[in-house]
């Protein structure tokens, strides 16, 4: 199974082997409260709505006739869905590494005991706590084609005004920037927690051996952060592929569907166009896409992720 990463328990030392007999029962016992709760309120709904994707449903009438794979077949001939997939993938490909890089740099900068450091860390946390509405409004203002501060700055250095969110070619990238901004705090918090696990001794030893700070960062810190990085890659990707709020609150998928991502299109089909069965089919195509990407991430991670 792709999700099995390097596993310390797979090679128990001799003394522990005896204890391994009850391992199955204990493992299940420990996992079961979570598994049951998530099974009922997470997995069961997923399976129930899978059914919907093979039905014609408008959410209004109780009749939901079976249509077989018609919803799925329709998807493959829907140019808007194809565009939505493209936008979603472009967004994810930029957002995930962007957020991780910014998050890592900021976390490293904040991982020191200087005065007011807790104020800085709180600032990072604040980006998660403020509502996406506020972020959306500020970005609408900053990037406004006529009255935005970004264009004023560009004009000041002799660059002409850009249309940003009102341009079909730029809007998606503005959304990427805005979403990175909103998620930086999350990556910072995760990396800050992970940085606490980097043993000081390793750095001290390497410093005595004459390793430069950058070398130490690359050869000690980055590998030791790899479990946190794997977590971030997976979690950010899952969220990026399901982007909705940032689009809903700013461009509403426009202009001319340039920022229509899968979940926005799905919401539009379900709750604006009343095509719930069709929307459910989209959700399961998306599900398969996420599943495959996540599986690949876990598989690749086996080579790079370093567990203690």
């Amino acid at each position: 199974m792709a999700t099995v990463t390097e596993d310390p328990a797979r090679r128990p030392p001799g003394a522990l082997r005896r204890l391994g007999r009850s391992e199955h029962a204990t493992g299940w016992a420990l996992a079961s409260p979570g598994v049951i709760l998530i099974g009922i309120f997470g997995l069961l709904p997923v399976l129930l709505s899978l059914k919907l994707s093979f039905q014609k449903s408008d959410l209004l009438t109780p009749e939901t006739p079976w249509v077989g794979t018609a919803n799925y077949r329709k998807l493959f001939n829907d140019p808007v869905f194809a565009a939505a997939i493209e936008h979603t993938l472009i967004f994810t490909a930029l957002f995930v590494p962007g957020t991780m890089l910014v998050g890592l740099l900021v976390a490293v900068a904040m991982n020191r005991s200087i005065r007011f450091i807790s104020v800085y860390r709180t600032a990072a946390y604040v980006t998660m706590a403020v509502s996406t509405i506020s972020e959306g409004i500020i970005f609408l203002w900053l990037t406004d084609k006529d009255y935005g501060l970004v264009n004023s700055a560009l004009n000041a250095v002799g660059i002409s005004s850009q249309p940003f969110l009102s341009s079909t070619s730029q809007a998606l990238y503005v959304i990427v920037a805005m979403t990175i901004w909103g998620w930086t705090g999350f990556a910072v918090i995760i990396y800050l927690a992970a940085l606490q696990g980097v043993p000081v001794e390793l750095h001290e030893a390497a410093a005595i051996d004459g390793a430069s700070p950058f070398t130490r960062f690359r050869t000690i810190t980055v590998p030791l952060l790899s479990p946190a990085s794997l977590f971030l890659v997976v979690w950010l990707t899952i969220n990026a592929l399901q982007l909705f709020d940032e689009v809903y609150l700013t461009t509403r998928g426009g202009p001319l569907r340039a920022t229509t991502v899968i979940v926005y299109y799905l919401w539009d089909q379900a709750f604006v166009q009343f095509q719930a069965g069709y929307a459910a089919a989209m959700a399961y195509v998306l599900f398969v896409v996420i599943l495959i990407i996540t599986a690949i991430q876990f598989r690749i991670s086996r080579r790079y992720v370093h567990y203690s």
Binding site: I40, L60, D146, Y147, F271
Partner: protein, 431 residues
């Protein structure tokens, strides 16, 4: 391991129960407390003055009807549809909900929605007193599915100061679109980042209904009379969209692709004109504004028109006793006296013609919110309504994309409308 076993049992039970629940939706006979008081739950999206007014009316009704207890739930109107659809699925809809008029054809399909046709036929409802456009929007295939809760329409709201500064005469009731575009051009001052007009350019229904009014004034229609094919790609449609194209090309219109800034830009003195509804008037405290009906096309027999987006009170069936109580409350709430109170308290237009024709009332309303009188009078310019087909959301979406593509200079009017018409025809044919 006991816990595990028990939990597995629960999981199994849930699955079975869901299958069963799917077959027999439990009809809730509740809502009646032991002392015989019938409870009526109303979901609305009212805030501020509207909320205060509704609460006062509700309390008044409760006092006068001790055997009925009306209560309300304030719910973000933006996403209330998701809440209602889920509640209907779970068998727990409210008794009355405030719903946007554009949802009407779809709402009509919900079996729990009460058919009001026979109720409103009773003389004490005085149904014909509601404006024609409202009644049309509440009627789907001959079935009345709601009672008008709010009515509005589009008119020109203009900044008197900017008009004076540009040396342009204010809009008149006989303006043509040529007058409008010429004025917008003169009102545009690039150095001040000042525009003659603003057009919502997000491609939503907000974009579309601005165009609808122009389309009708040019003599066109959205769909063919039998609602089976697109009709907006007629010469009239091209004419209307060409007007928008010209304004976009000479940059006298701010195309608001995120549809967020309109009122604020107007209030900041950055716009000469807006085409908007009465709800915006209270958000323009910083400018000296005037209101005028929409211009029409030179020589058009269709004259000056506008579009109205009436919202409705929709009643859900939660057992006959609650239904009866809910209908009675809605009847009282939308009677002329309460319409007048609501209108004066909130600044909303009166939903009943008899109220709108009362001179002293219109004066009082206009005093409270200057410009309202024009909007009240403009209700008689509502001559057409959106086609009541349940594919309307798809019609609106196709038209919205066509309009925005022209506004952004990505397509020519006739090609864009033809392309949209093709999509609409396919949807109406059932694909």
């Amino acid at each position: 391991m006991m816990r595990k076993m028990r939990a597995c049992g629960i999981a199994l039970g849930v699955t079975t129960a869901l299958v069963l629940a799917g077959c027999s939706s439990s009809s809730d006979s509740g809502g009646e407390s032991s002392n015989g008081v019938t409870k009526v739950v109303v979901w609305n999206g009212y805030t501020d003055a509207q909320a205060k007014n509704f609460t006062a009316l509700m309390n008044e009704y409760n006092k006068a009807n001790p055997n009925v207890q009306v209560s309300q739930l304030v719910s973000s109107s933006d996403q209330v549809l998701q809440k209602i659809l889920t509640a209907v699925r779970g068998g727990t809809p409210p008794d009355v909900a405030y719903m946007f008029g554009s949802w009407a054809p779809n709402i009509a399909k919900i079996p729990q929605v009460v058919d009001m046709t026979s109720y409103v036929a009773q003389p004490e409802w005085n149904w014909a007193d509601f404006y024609e456009g409202e009644r049309a929007a509440a009627t789907v295939k001959g079935k009345v599915i709601g009672v008008p809760a709010l009515v509005d329409n589009l008119a020109i709201v203009y900044n008197k100061t900017l008009f004076k500064a540009a040396g342009v005469a204010p809009p008149t009731a006989t303006w043509t679109w040529d007058d409008f575009t010429a004025a917008a051009k003169k009102l545009t001052v690039p150095a001040k980042k000042q525009y003659g007009w603003l057009m919502p350019g997000d491609g939503s229904e907000d974009t579309v209904w601005h165009f609808d009014a122009m389309l009708w004034e040019a003599g066109g229609d959205i769909l063919t009379p039998d609602n089976t094919k697109a009709a907006f790609n007629s010469p009239a449609g091209v004419k209307a969209l060409t007007t928008l194209q010209q304004m976009a090309q000479d940059k006298s219109v701010y195309v608001d692709t995120t549809n967020a800034q309109g009122t604020k830009l107007m209030n900041s003195g950055k716009l000469g004109m807006m085409v908007t509804g009465p709800w915006d008037l209270s958000s323009l405290p910083d400018i000296d504004y005037g209101v005028q009906i929409m211009p029409t096309y030179n020589g058009s027999s269709a004259g000056h028109q506008t579009i109205s987006g009436p919202d409705n009170w929709v009643v859900f069936n939660n057992g006959s006793k609650r239904e009866k109580a809910a209908v009675d409350f809605v009847k009282w709430l939308t009677a002329a006296a309460q319409v007048k109170t609501t209108s004066l308290a909130s600044g909303d237009l009166p939903t009943r013609e008899s109220v709108g024709q009362e001179q002293s009332f219109v004066e009082a309303l206009n005093k409270k919110l200057p410009g309202s009188a024009v909007f009240v009078k403009n209700l008689s310019n509502v001559k057409k309504a959106r086609p009541p087909v349940d594919q309307y959301p798809a019609v609106s979406e196709a038209m919205g994309q066509a309009i925005v593509s022209v506004l952004l200079g990505k397509a020519e009017p006739s090609a864009a409308l033809d392309n949209a018409a093709k999509q609409v025809d396919a949807k109406l044919a059932g694909n």
